[in-house]
């Protein structure tokens, strides 16, 4: 490292349930490269200074969804954020609104259960046989749901969501977007099932439309729009079922 190299201080939240009663902050001053992302700095600290630092990462190209953390108080994918946009001191903490396993690692099982709950798979009254070949889907039909299928399950939206903060059981933006994605898919016949789920407690009607989820989404999924649409569909479906008790399916 040359003497002229820029340095930054990383103030990192540390917590090891084997040793600590409560989270603490630990500061590391390190030389940084102008091309680095936030994740590169964490990996430098891990490799060169403190091997006990725990964080998740893998693809380092913003698609595996592992490395979400709070950077200067905002939920971010650390492999995507250029270090150059931050000041001399950078605060890194685990994603907000999740239980912490250790250091920068949060507990994700709750999200996995929420995801499963919305039935994020193609539902059909009668399964197609493979011999029938691929279904037709026009580019316009694909466009209907494509944006909501881009969710990488990074869970930044849960950290940003004020409802999740107060009501941890709220099923949350990503799960709703993914459930809604299947309901919008021309190949799916499960919208009524999911509307039923979305009329349940702690789902779409808990959303307060803060829109924070869409603002932090690193993949521009716009989960707030999905929640909005899902809410409307759940209501219409319910109203239709009052008029036509056996109707409501598409």
């Amino acid at each position: 490292m040359s003497d002229g190299q820029q340095k930054k201080t990383f103030v990192i939240t540390r917590f090891d349930p084997d040793r600590d009663d409560a989270p603490r902050k630990q500061a590391y001053e390190i030389p940084v490269h102008p091309d680095w992302k936030v994740l590169d700095a964490l990996n430098f600290i891990k490799d060169e200074i403190d091997a006990t630092l725990s964080h998740r990462w893998s693809c380092r190209m913003a698609v595996c969804g592992s490395c979400g953390m709070m950077v200067d108080g905002e939920p971010r994918l650390t492999c995507k954020e250029a270090l150059s946009q931050y000041g001399d001191t950078v605060d890194v903490a685990p994603l907000a609104n999740f239980p912490v396993v250790r250091d920068l690692v949060i507990e994700a099982d709750g999200f996995m259960e929420k995801l499963t709950h919305v039935k994020p798979w193609i539902i059909r009254a009668k399964e197609l046989a493979v011999e029938e070949g691929p279904m037709r889907q026009s580019p316009a039909e694909l466009e209907e749901f494509k944006q909501f299928s881009m969710c990488i399950n990074c869970m930044l939206c849960y950290s940003a969501c004020p409802v999740v903060a107060n009501e941890p059981e709220f099923i949350g933006p990503a799960a709703i977007a993914l459930g809604h994605r299947y309901s919008l898919d021309s190949r799916d016949e499960g919208a009524a099932d999911r509307n039923e789920i979305f009329r349940g407690e702690g789902t779409v009607f808990s959303c307060s439309f803060a829109n924070e989820c869409s603002e932090v989404c690193p993949k521009h999924v716009d989960p707030a729009a999905a929640v909005n649409q899902a809410k409307l569909n759940a209501v219409i479906d319910w109203a239709t079922s009052l008029v036509l008790p056996r109707g409501g399916d598409k």
Binding site: C59, A62, G65, V101, M112, W121, V130, S138, F145
Partner: protein
């Protein structure tokens, strides 16, 4: 007392191959208990990073014979021809299933699935979902798998040992990363689907998790690793990070140009003929290295590179077909490909070699199956064609799931006492390694020395001397690894311990790669020697087998299955 759980089969790895295997097993028996053990949550698996597409015959102007011939020629005639024929016939069925399960394949105007051109493929047969195909396939598979409640997931469980009793595989020992507890996960058959080992190299498209774990577990259990010398360099990685820029860029019409703006793949003789940018990966990677060596590269802070030029495709096409390429280029190299060419250089991408499997995804060890990059079914021979590997995960993942279930049907559970003891021994080994203060070296030193030697001996161009040197260095690194010091003694999410265990796996795989490479005295596919430039079918038309031995690896040979296509000079 160690915790023991029982299932019908155990799958290690939750990427495309592992998930496809799990679903196949559920389809056979919805009541069966399927354990899915993965060191990451399944949707973090490296399948997620695949970009360009998945190959299967779909168009009227295409057929199995053409897909098969392209594949065997791409393999430089080291692919097993029965395996290739099985693969191409199964491929459309598997991609159709993905369609039924919700994969958002890109479409033609009439609603049929769109296909694009890919390197070494003689027609458009690569199915795609813009340029995020691995991501969409992985999430479609994972989300589809959530409907089966008989798939019991062991998320963030790191399998460290195959448990064998009476010569039959009966399960795995797996470290629960979150708690530090080692579990014995038993099943009457085990499927390895843990992917490749790109992280033994410094410059790779592979994610941090690609450490060859399944290869190492099988190797240590006495199963041969096959054709490990064949490492695929993808022609177009970003300098510095190694992040992949998909071959679909060239499939959609992109050019590769040197510092003089010349499309050298079209203008000079690099063996790709009129295919130019759509030649196979091994040839294009060599061509780029030769251009750089001839002084027609561009110098940058991360070494020399050439350009991938997409400007003539226009913004509309780039946005519609290659949105991720644009996003990645902007974020990771500060280039918008609509207006500027993208700096690229060859980068370690894929291992043609792996656990020796047959056409049924079975290994030589009863009860052990393998599929995807971890396996070498000899579909890819010495060079894989782009877009065959995602399909391979599905075809052989499904086959592994079905065949493992059939094996489990007729197999017994083995001695629980013996398996528990094995698990306890493994737990003791892991506890001893955790926070091991005695010794000298940091893990990161060993890793950087491994990286240096693998790149110098087993890169795009190789020599006997350099390969021998790498084999010797890897052996020394094993000694140094035995003496590492670790700092983290916590039981909870101890990523240093995981990295140490992964390093052990990487050294096993690196040993197999270097020694297999040093034994192949010819140039074939991705194994290119400066000192022996030609292919030698007389003496080397065989698969290399590498067996673990504490005293150093033992090498063997296995015949290539021929019969349908006569080996010929590989020219395009």
């Amino acid at each position: 007392m160690i915790e023991v759980t029982r299932h019908d089969i155990v799958i290690v790895g939750g990427g495309a191959a592992g998930l496809r295997a799990a679903i196949a097993a559920c389809e056979i028996d919805p009541g069966a208990s399927i354990a899915l053990v993965s060191k990451v949550y399944p949707m973090r698996s490296h399948t997620v990073s695949a970009e360009g597409g998945a190959a299967a015959v779909a168009r009227e102007d295409d057929n199995f014979e053409m897909h098969g011939y392209d594949t065997v020629k791409g393999s430089d005639f080291l692919g097993d021809q029965d395996v290739i024929q099985y693969f191409v016939e199964q491929a459309p069925r598997e991609l159709t299933l993905l369609e039924h399960w919700g994969c958002p394949w890109s479409r033609n105007e009439d609603g049929t699935v769109a296909t694009r051109a890919f390197g070494g493929m003689s027609t458009k047969r690569t199915w795609y979902a813009t340029d995020k195909v691995g991501f969409h396939m992985l999430h479609a598979l994972f989300q589809h798998s959530l409907r089966f409640d008989n798939i019991v997931r062991y998320d963030e469980h790191f399998a460290t040992k195959l448990l064998v009793d009476g010569g039959v595989v009966r399960g795995v020992a797996a470290l629960d990363v979150r708690t530090g507890v080692v579990r014995v996960v038993l099943g009457r058959a085990v499927i390895m689907a843990t992917g490749g080992a790109g992280k033994i190299f410094p410059f790779t498209t592979n994610g941090n998790i690609k450490t060859g774990d399944g290869m190492a577990l099988a190797y240590r259990a006495g199963v041969a690793l096959k054709d490990m010398e064949f490492i695929q360099y993808h022609p177009t990685g970003l300098p510095g990070t190694g992040i992949l820029i998909t071959e679909a860029t060239r499939g959609e019409g992109g050019y590769v140009i040197n510092s003089e703006g010349e499309r050298f793949l079209a203008t000079r003789d690099y063996g790709v003929g009129t295919k130019a940018e759509l030649g196979p990966r091994d040839m294009i990677s060599r061509a780029i290295i030769q251009e750089i060596e001839a002084g027609r590269g561009i110098s940058g802070p991360y070494g020399e590179y050439v350009y991938l030029d997409l400007r003539h495709l226009g913004e509309a096409k780039i946005v519609a077909r290659l949105p991720m390429v644009r996003e990645i280029s902007k974020i990771y190299i500060g280039v918008d490909p609509v207006y500027e060419p993208i700096p690229i250089r060859p980068v370690v991408h894929y291992m043609m070699g792996g656990i020796d499997t047959d056409i049924t995804a079975a290994t030589s060890l009863p009860g052990l199956y393998a599929a995807g990059e971890v396996a070498s079914a000899s579909l890819n021979g010495s060079n894989r064609l782009g877009s065959n590997s995602l399909t391979e995960c599905l075809v052989f993942g499904a086959s592994a799931g079905r065949n493992a279930m059939a094996f489990a049907e007729g197999s017994s559970e083995g001695s629980e006492d013996a398996l528990r003891r094995e698990g306890e021994e493994e737990a003791a080994r892991i506890v001893a390694l955790r926070g091991k203060q005695k010794g000298g070296e940091k893990l990161s030193r060993i890793r950087s020395d491994l990286h240096k030697t693998m790149e110098s001996g087993c890169g795009v161009y190789r020599t006997q001397e350099a390969m021998n040197e790498t084999a010797r260095t890897v052996a020394q690194l094993r000694g140094r690894y035995a003496d590492i010091a670790l700092e983290d003694s916590s039981t909870v999410f101890n990523t240093e311990l995981i990295a140490a265990l992964e390093m052990g796996n990487m050294l096993d795989v690196a040993e197999a790669v270097a020694n297999s490479a040093a034994s192949r005295n010819e140039s074939r596919g991705a194994h290119t020697r400066r000192d022996v430039p030609n292919r030698d079918d007389q003496n080397f038309l065989y698969h290399t087998l590498c067996y673990f031995d504490p005293a150093g690896p033992r090498l063997g040979k296995k015949d290539v299955t021929l019969g349908h296509w006569e080996p010929e000079e590989r020219k395009y």
